[in-house]
């Protein structure tokens, strides 16, 4: 089996949002949506800090679909539009999606975005990878782990573009892979571990 995963090294992330923008471009993500958000952890302003001067700390937290092994969204989807594929990715079949948004209620990470209107793009045409299907009004979408790229040998674009090399992509079922070794590092953890959703995106630091 294959269990594709991404490790994000929070000690290396500089909060530059390059991954978020690359993702938006690669996947033709419309205005008002992102599949990958870079949060300034525990702050209510972007690039804020936690603590009291001079003891300040700032952590950037990139959040995307966590491709959970025990995915709440996949269980909740009434039509099976959301599914776990043979490479361990959580994917959406847009033709099956009835737009009930049960998955959005079920996702603990708020990773999913919905096409509330006809998608608006600036500039006024589709951009990014031509292999990525265009989503219609009334369906849900989210990070696909760059399905079109990772079907082959390419890595997801967020991993490819990260200037700080904070992201590691690979197969958790291959014990010799870099990501399997990263998963054993101290400080490797999941978001909302207590929810038991067993994400395949994990964080170091």
């Amino acid at each position: 089996m294959t269990k594709l995963a991404i490790a994000i090294d929070l000690d290396r992330c500089v909060g530059c949002h390059t991954c978020a923008n690359a993702c938006k471009m690669q996947n033709n993500v419309p205005m008002g949506m992102l599949w990958n958000r870079i949060l300034t952890k525990d702050c209510d302003v972007i690039d804020g800090a936690v603590g009291e001067y001079p003891a300040l700390a700032r952590t950037y937290l990139p959040v995307q679909c966590q491709h959970c092994a025990n995915a709440p969204c996949q269980k909740a989807c009434p039509t099976g539009a959301t599914y776990k594929d043979e490479k361990g990715r959580v994917e959406v079949d847009y033709d099956k999606c009835i737009g009930c948004r049960m998955c959005m209620a079920a996702c603990p990470y708020n990773a999913r975005v919905f096409n509330w209107d006809d998608p608006v793009r600036e500039p006024g045409f589709d951009y990014g990878d031509a292999r990525v299907p265009v989503r219609a009004k009334g369906v849900v979408e989210k990070c696909t782990l760059c399905k079109e790229r990772t079907d082959g040998d390419e890595v997801p674009l967020c991993v490819r573009v990260c200037p700080a090399r904070a992201r590691i992509f690979g197969d958790l079922d291959d014990p010799d892979s870099e990501i399997s070794r990263a998963a054993l590092r101290s400080g490797a953890h999941h978001l909302l571990e207590e929810k038991g959703s067993r994400p395949q995106i994990f964080y170091i630091g």
Binding site: W116, K195, G196
Partner: protein, 435 residues
């Protein structure tokens, strides 16, 4: 058939509301769900709250109707047919609200073609469909000459468990979601059943009082006061379960629960929470605890209206409260995605805590759905209940309506004198009988 003027005006107003709602729905179909106030943060809104409410009303009414039949509570038989009419109408509209909420209603066939049996929503659709079939069959057996007491009993025996399962499965849409602090609780299903029973009964009591006033269907005073007593019990159970849930949330003092509780008791959900507690639970319980009050239709109607308002408010805070705080907190937070923020540049499309207010099309659609419900009830009442009273022989055949008919006519004589009869046909029926 001659109809009185206030009745015609009521019908006209309701028809206008329905037409406005349909217009708003077409507007939504063209523009997408972006015309609503929903966003990526609060991805369900008034439609789903309305669905929860109507589904509860329908299930509660059917539970009463089938319970009375199954347990042969003959004193309440006059309530059975109105209750079944209410249950079918409410459940149809609940289903309609779910369809209205769908972004891809054209792909609804996927629910049958490729379904996921692990999804509570799939089961909800199945059970609501079963409910409607059983409800319509029950209605047919109660109103047709072919409906024997045995067939009604058999239908009621199927209807009773379905009436309990429908609110349970609806509750599991929420209660099984580990993602949401305020939903993930094993008390959700019993709580939804309790809310269904008290709100459904409250609506039934209101309908019976209204019908009595118009001398259409007589619940007789004892029937009504008995139902009012049952209502007090149901409301108390509902309130008790809310209390259990709030205590369990508050006691461990976890961060997420504390934030949600603050939102419920003193934040944006506070009006809904306190209306539910005060108007929906304490006031009706206090009023209906006294036998003297239970005998006065006006007071019982007031308490019932309070229960309905309370349960609707509960649907609101229960649904929306859990959308406010994302589990993974941080700036800039969630990106809205909805059209209300489109055209707004930069940071204004983002929000650290999610907020929601229904838009005009959304309110019009929901108002249209409720108006359609009242309209359908009036039409069905005119068709089935009025004819019942005016036709002499139909009553005993059905075995449902003969109970205390004479008492009813007698006990409501003084009321009739002071009240305007809205159903012209009823008057005609009464006159025929007196001749």
């Amino acid at each position: 058939m001659s109809l009185t003027r206030p009745y015609k005006i009521t019908i006209a107003v309701l028809a206008v509301l329905v037409a406005l709602g349909m217009g708003a729905y077409i507007f939504q179909l063209v523009g997408g769900l972006g015309v609503t106030g929903m966003s990526n943060g609060t991805s369900w809104g008034l439609y789903i709250a309305g669905f929860m409410f109507l589904e509860g009303l329908g299930a509660g009414a059917l539970a009463i109707a089938s319970g009375v039949t199954v347990f042969r509570a003959s004193a309440y038989r006059a309530a059975v047919l109105p209750a079944v009419i209410i249950s079918v109408v409410c459940m149809l509209l609940a289903g309609a609200l779910v369809l209205i909420d769908l972004g891809g209603v054209v792909r609804i066939a996927n629910m049958m073609l490729s379904f996921n049996p692990a999804s509570p929503l799939f089961w909800d659709v199945c059970l609501v469909s079963c409910f409607l079939v059983v409800g319509v069959v029950f209605l047919y057996l109660l109103t047709s000459k072919r409906g024997t007491a045995a067939s009604q009993m058999a239908t009621a025996r199927i209807a009773l468990p379905i009436a309990v399962l429908v609110p349970s499965v609806t509750a599991w849409l929420f209660g099984l979601q580990i993602a949401r602090e305020g939903w993930y609780s094993s008390i959700m299903a019993p709580l939804f059943v309790a809310s269904a029973l008290d709100s459904g009964l409250a609506l039934l009591v209101l309908a019976l009082i209204w019908l009595n006033r118009n001398r259409v269907r007589a619940g007789s005073e004892r029937c009504l006061s008995g139902l009012a007593g049952l209502l007090a019990l149901f409301v108390a159970v509902d309130g008790y379960m809310v209390g259990c849930e709030v205590l369990t949330m508050a006691y461990p003092g976890t961060e997420g629960a504390a934030a949600l509780l603050a939102e419920m008791t003193s934040g944006s959900m506070a009006p809904f929470f306190w209306i539910e507690v005060i108007v929906g639970v304490f006031a009706p319980c206090l009023i209906l605890a006294f036998a003297k009050n239970r005998r006065r239709p006006g007071i019982v109607a007031l308490a019932s209206a309070g229960v309905l308002a309370g349960v609707f408010c509960k649907r609101i805070w229960l649904l929306l409260g859990s959308f406010v705080y994302p589990n993974v907190a941080g700036a800039p937070g969630l990106i809205s995605g909805s059209s209300s923020t489109q055209g707004v540049e930069g940071v204004h499309g983002w929000t650290v805590v999610s907020s929601y207010a229904p838009t005009l099309p959304e309110v019009l659609i929901v108002a249209g759905v409720f108006a359609l419900g009242v309209l359908a009830f009036l039409v069905l009442a005119q068709r089935f209940l009025v004819d019942d009273v005016s036709s002499e022989e139909g009553l005993t055949d059905k075995g449902m309506l003969a109970v205390e008919r004479e008492d009813v006519v007698a006990s409501h004589e003084p009321i009739e004198a002071s009240l305007d009869c809205r159903f012209g046909t009823v008057r005609a029926g009464e006159q025929e009988r007196s001749q």
